[in-house]
Symmetry: C2
């Protein structure tokens, strides 16, 4: 019975007429369901603090792969940067005090005692009134404390130069550790890595960093499902939720673990979920909305650890057949099999966990304020997400509800955003001002 209700809720062929025709049986059922907010609250309170605060899924990641991810720990510099005094230009390394008072009329005369190319370690040191030709990026020889630009010098004899103006200590030099000192915190915990941070880490020789990159296991169940890469025989349907969820997980800066297709019989399903719990930080199973499987998921989840099932069924359209569980600190979700419901419930219940981990490359998109362009009836007692098209006309956004069957993924493909109708409302009216959450 639960299942036919769920199919009705999540897949009504014509939302407008059905909402009017079939209020009685749905209302009976809805009384036992949680709202989305209640479900989120129950889950949130049951989560261990580290998950709630986003400190989970921590693993070492190579820095060139870590852009957009969040550091779990402060990173102290393992070394000085630069690791030696370095010239900022082509010129002559010297001791600044030897040039004090120099001018074009009374230059300082310095003897050339060597040359430093980039990448060289100078094999000599500078004494009083000595200089060495040095390239940009070159390592200052011992004794030198500044560089004079070629423009302010003139050759003098075969092995000396005239310096035509005074040079201050440190001129055109980056001193050892000027950029970062060994032990200094280069980046704080909780920082989201940007290209310049990757640059600094590379310069310091930090090759991997501990970032929050939650691994999310994804499996699809249902006897009618075949891999999306396979041909379909009559009666079968290609797996849509697996690829869509894996992509959505990746877009939030997390890492999908593909558990593939699992028949919704007890043993294979339990084995797959157990593998997911062992290898991932969050486990998602979509489908299994047939009567048997719908009963199976909660039992299996509760058999795998404590506290087990937290929520079974959420009063939202599309999307009702949802199981939320927690197995020994790992969140586990039974998502609806309908592709549209599956993605919407993922957005509402799973995505916030991944955003908390900071793995999200982008914050939740900001809602767009728009005027509704036609009436849209909705059944009171459950929230409803309505796919809409957005159009800008004369500087204002207009949202047009897409009236196609909500079970059809093509409706969501045509949509630019979603409008949420609160549970207490019986619909929205043309001209209402609504918040549209962009579907990006």
């Amino acid at each position: 019975m639960a299942d036919s209700q769920s199919a009705h809720l999540s897949a009504s062929k014509d939302a407008v007429t059905l909402a009017a025709n079939h209020i009685t049986p749905m209302s009976r059922e809805l009384r036992h369901l949680k709202t989305l907010d209640e479900a989120r609250k129950i889950l949130w309170e049951a989560l261990p603090a580290r998950v709630r605060e986003g400190r989970f899924g921590v693993r070492p990641v190579e820095i060139a792969e870590a852009l957009g991810l969040v550091l779990d720990e402060e990173i102290p510099s393992p070394t000085d940067l630069p690791p030696f005094d370095r010239s900022l230009m082509d010129g002559y390394a010297l001791r600044a005090q030897d040039t004090f008072g120099a001018s074009e009329g009374l230059p300082a005369y310095l003897k050339l005692v060597g040359e430093v190319q980039m990448g060289d370690t100078p094999a000599f040191a500078l004494s009083h009134n000595q200089a060495a030709r040095i390239a940009t990026g070159g390592m200052l020889p011992e004794g030198a404390d500044a560089v004079v630009m070629v423009e302010y010098t003139q050759p003098w004899g075969d092995d000396s130069i005239e310096v035509l103006r005074p040079v201050a200590p440190g001129d055109h030099v980056v001193r050892r550790a000027d950029d970062v000192r060994e032990g200094q915190a280069i980046l704080p915990a909780g920082h989201r890595l940007r290209p310049q941070d990757i640059s600094a880490l590379a310069g310091l020789g930090v090759t991997t960093v501990p970032v929050r990159l939650p691994r999310v296991a994804v499996l699809s169940t249902g006897p009618e499902i075949v891999p999306h890469t396979d041909p379909v025989s009559p009666g079968k349907i290609r797996d849509m939720n697996g690829p869509a969820l894996r992509a959505a997980i990746r877009s939030l800066g997390a890492e999908p673990l593909n558990l593939g297709l699992v028949t919704d019989e007890e043993e294979p399903l339990r084995d797959a979920l157990r593998r997911g719990l062992a290898e991932a930080d969050i486990v998602l199973a979509s489908g299994g909305t047939s009567v048997g499987a719908a009963d199976l998921m909660p039992d299996i989840i509760s058999s795998l650890g404590t506290p087990g099932v937290l929520v079974h069924g959420v009063a939202v359209k599309p999307g009702k057949p949802v199981v939320i569980g927690l197995v020994d600190e790992t969140p586990i979700f039974g998502l609806p099999g309908h592709p549209t419901s599956c993605l919407l419930i993922f957005r509402e219940l799973v995505a916030p966990l991944l955003r908390a981990a900071g793995g999200a490359r982008a914050a939740r998109p900001r809602p767009v304020r728009a005027l509704l362009s036609r009436n849209y009836p909705s059944q009171a007692g459950r929230e409803e997400f309505v796919p809409v098209r957005l159009e800008e006309r004369e500087g204002e956004w207009h949202a047009t509800p897409l009236l196609g069957p909500s079970a059809l993924i093509s409706t969501l493909v045509k949509a630019d955003g979603l409008v949420c109708i609160p549970a207490e409302a019986e619909g929205l009216y043309a001209g209402d001002s609504v918040d549209v959450e962009p579907l990006e």
Copy 2:
């Protein structure tokens, strides 16, 4: 000479005093340089139309990897979705006309002739006054055109049911091709793929799609550079630009091709650039700012194809030593070796090409309007990008210029954004309203 200037511009130890002290030699040099806008315009006009319009770097990508990328072609559906008439709930498949006029007082009596589970192909057809038990997602048997919910039926004898209300044709059924019809355009060219699009493509059996995923070759040159994963000996510096550029490329939805470190001698550099041109859509070489290499890059680029070098040197701080070329329709950039300059020039000149390809997962971040919290002098004649810290106080954003040496990556690591001082300005004043481009 060009090189010492470049080092001066891009790496001045103290921007404030140097800008005042050394105007003469820089101004001489700056007269020959392009502005950023001029450089962009020269490049843009030389690009082939397909690159300018972003239609490049097209390759087939597995759909679960294609989220956020842009389709280069309209995708027609290879099949009907669903591929058969499908029940939306658990109930009985039947012929609607057999139930017309049915009521609790005068039910319709239908004979059960079979059962359809999800994934089954029914081996029977329905005739007049026959029904078949059917599961959600099950394939309708031939002859059936609707499903009645279990709630509106009662068993009657061993092999029949009573139907207590009339059912309309199509009730609780998704008909073959209701979602998508074979040959119908499921997604248009230029569309950026979202999770629901991946879902639809999977359902249709489209396993790979032609998307714009430009490949960008990255190499670093300089005799003082070692791989960032290696220990450094005195005089050497770890490669920072390679990892940073590869991360920045990835963040824009493009694919880096790592050409590693190349000495800035003519033959190895030419070979590496040639490989980049053969395998990538854009080629980036950072470093080679020593006098010899600075002269080498333009010569090599021009020797590799036409039109060769377009721009050599840009009047911007930090960042001047830039070579922009086009070799047989492939853009090639010689970027500054200084990590800060390298990233800024990438942002200004290379990132727009990748955004044009639509590969960007996000548009260029919107500037934040802020009040400058202290004076900042700048030399007229070149644009300057000033790293700033952003703080919100009493509802207003305040931008504080970071006065550290601009060559140091730690300055950029500490920055929240950049303020661009136009070439004609001689600085900014405390209290000025400025646009800060967030460094995200």
